[in-house]
């Protein structure tokens, strides 16, 4: 049984400009000790999906439908007060920008102690010891001194480590990392990813990794979901997604990765056009305005997310054989995709 199962999740927000359909029928599942990657451009609904898991999108203007089953209970149906007991304790989350995500007026140590004492009735000094231990375990040098530091006194990498320490201090079952390395220097990015990987292996924490970086996915994830305009377009184990991707959008993402081993004369091939508005989502297949193939039914009806083989789901009108053929010819054209 999966640890976390999202079933047909819909999230929309009423705004002055209209209803924003941020997530439309997303179903995902995460097994214990596994890492699920959610990839997509900005506005693809990946962050909203993740934040909805712990109820962070429960704004007055939000409508949330579907089921998120964790530990046999539906988190969508749960009251915010009940959900509060799960937030931080059993499902923890870290965010993109660790500077703005830590409170600027409170010491880092205090912010972690607060997280521990919210969920466990432990004395202050015990929480302090555990905080220092957590800071040490994420590789922060001099954790006793760092306990007393304010966020602005730390470097970006240290801040993200502190966020991870806060998230993992209560040994959650799931860590949701929402673009954890996007705001960091490239050299620090690798360290933080390695840290998340090491902690997953040591503590057995399952990870949901949200990113727009397929390189990160290749390094970290067991399974990958590709999201676009609030929908999952393709979902597969990592090897399958990189070796035999079947959705034109995934091909586009793979083609737009800069490659060191590609000849310098090769230009990057970005996906034409820009992501659609989530207020006026295109009719038919949401990707058809940017799709170089566009099979005729795509203009009228939205394709189902259907298995092309066990464990590999694709939302596309192109016949399976056609997709495999197109991918092979793409690979011949661009050796870097092999």
């Amino acid at each position: 049984m999966p640890l976390l199962e999202i079933e047909d999740l819909h999230v929309s927000f009423k705004t002055i400009d209209g209803v924003v359909h941020a997530v439309e029928g997303v179903s995902l599942s995460l097994d214990a000790r596994k890492t699920l990657g959610i990839v997509g451009e900005s506005g693809s609904g990946k962050s909203v999906t993740a934040q909805t898991v712990i109820g962070l999108t429960r704004f007055p203007n939000a409508t949330i439908r579907g089921r998120i089953v964790f530990d046999g209970k539906d988190l969508v149906a749960m009251s915010t007060e009940q959900l509060r007991g799960i937030r931080g304790a059993r499902i923890a989350m870290i965010f993109q920008d660790p500077l703005s995500s830590l409170h600027p007026f409170f010491k880092v140590g205090h912010q972690i102690v607060e997280a521990i004492r919210t969920h466990e009735d432990v004395p202050r000094d015990a929480a302090r010891r555990r905080t220092i231990e957590a800071l040490r375990s994420v590789g922060i040098p001099g954790p006793e001194q760092r306990f007393e530091s304010f966020p602005h006194e730390m470097s970006g990498g240290m801040r993200q480590r502190a966020m991870i320490a806060m998230a993992l201090a209560l040994r959650p079952d799931i860590l949701i990392a929402d673009e954890p390395t996007t705001a960091l220097d490239v050299t620090v990015q690798a360290q933080v990813l390695e840290l998340i990987q090491a902690l997953r292996d040591d503590f057995g924490t399952a990870v949901v990794l949200i990113t727009h970086d397929l390189g990160v996915v290749a390094q970290m994830c067991d399974d990958v979901a590709v999201m676009y305009a609030g929908r999952v377009l393709e979902q597969a184990p990592r090897e399958t997604l990189f070796d035999e991707p079947e959705h034109p959008y995934t091909w586009g993402l793979l083609q737009s990765i800069p490659r060191l081993d590609a000849p310098r004369t090769d230009r990057l091939s970005p996906i034409a056009g820009s992501p659609p508005s989530l207020i006026n989502v295109p009719r038919g297949c949401t990707f058809h305005p940017r799709c170089p193939y566009t099979p005729p039914p795509a203009l009228e009806t939205e394709p189902e997310l259907a298995p092309s083989e066990p464990g590999h789901l694709v939302r596309c009108h192109l016949p399976v054989e056609e997709r495999k053929r197109l991918w092979q010819s793409l690979q011949q054209e661009h050796p870097a995709l092999r």
């Binding site: 007991g85 931080g88 965010f95 703005s100 995500s101 830590l102 600027p104 007026f105 919210t118």
Partner: protein, 320 residues
């Protein structure tokens, strides 16, 4: 920090010098009336006026007058004597300070006690009915000037002049040392009148700050940690949203300590503000000069206090 404070104090002294010089220049270039003629009264002979002019030192060039004033101020903190009634300006101001402090501090307490909670309640549910009623009401309060609100309150509530005869009327102020009950009762209407616009302004500011703060990433982190919403708002939200309010409060107190002119006039309270008003109508330069300097001092001082306080409130701020 120590060097910073010394530097700031030196700047403050320079600023006060400039302020009093400008007051002098304005009075010399655009005199509202001849103080000597005013002092001499009706039907005074030109010789008498000339005599008075000489006695007050008004026949000297203005830079000499300024120099004499400055010397008195620096050497023994002498603010000079009123052209109008020869009283020492310093002792006049100091004797009126308790009344101004009473009005300011009481008003401050009232407007903070009303403004901050109203702002918080509005911010928690923006655009709800409660929020709309409170923000609509605050707009009315901001728009009602002290001389209007004050007179209405006197007409409705004051003993003697009012319909309800509840609180002390205009001119009923006595020092707190004389009779606490009368003092308190006489100041209820001035406090509320003074506080109305400030409370409304602070409520709107508090609401805006808190709504903005509640959209910060660290608030999302606080929720993701599993904190109670009450803790998220009162601890993480307010801690950040209140800091700019402290700045404003310090400045406003400084401004009012220099004289809550309108309130003091409407309620006939013998404070520094009313003294300043009388000084202006009498073309009484030493009194004007003294009250301006006092007002400037409180503003500069309040600024300094706020800036120092800020270093304690916001750990990101340091002074070198």
């Amino acid at each position: 920090m120590g060097a910073y404070i010394v530097r700031r104090v030196l700047w403050a002294i320079l600023l006060l010098l400039v302020v009093s010089f400008i007051t002098f220049v304005i009075f010399d270039v655009f005199p509202s009336a001849d103080p000597a003629a005013l002092r001499a009264g009706r039907n005074a002979t030109p010789a008498l006026i000339e005599q008075i002019r000489h006695n007050l030192g008004l026949d000297k060039p203005f830079y000499t007058q300024f120099w004499i004033y400055l010397k008195g101020l620096v050497t023994h903190f002498d603010l000079g004597y009123s052209y109008y009634n020869s009283e020492s300006v310093k002792s006049e101001i100091f004797s009126r300070l308790p009344a101004t402090i009473s009005v300011t501090v009481g008003g401050f307490i009232v407007w903070m006690l009303i403004g901050i909670p109203v702002g918080i309640v509005s911010a928690i549910r923006p655009r709800s009915v409660v929020d709309r009623v409170m923000m609509g009401g605050s707009l009315v309060a901001i728009s009602a000037p002290v001389y209007f609100l004050g007179l209405v309150s006197l007409f409705v509530f004051a003993k003697g002049t009012g319909q309800l005869q509840w609180f002390g009327a205009a001119g009923s102020y006595v020092p707190i040392t004389q009779d606490f009950g009368t003092w308190f009762n006489s100041l209820i209407l001035p406090w509320v009148t003074l506080a109305a616009a400030f409370a409304a302004f602070y409520a709107r500011m508090m609401r805006g700050n808190l709504i903005e703060t509640m959209h910060e990433d660290y608030i999302r982190t606080a929720r993701a940690k599993g904190l109670r919403e009450r803790v998220v708002i009162t601890k993480h939200g307010l801690r950040a949203a209140l800091t700019p309010v402290v700045t404003m409060a310090g400045m406003d107190i400084g401004l009012l300590l220099g004289g809550a002119i309108l309130t003091e006039i409407v309620f006939n309270i013998p404070g520094v503000g009313r003294y300043a008003y009388n000084a202006i109508t009498n073309s009484d330069l030493p009194a004007i000069q003294g009250t301006v300097l006092f007002g400037a001092f409180f503003i500069v001082f309040a600024n300094l206090v706020v800036d120092i306080l800020y270093a304690f409130l916001d750990p990101r701020v340091t002074y070198g």
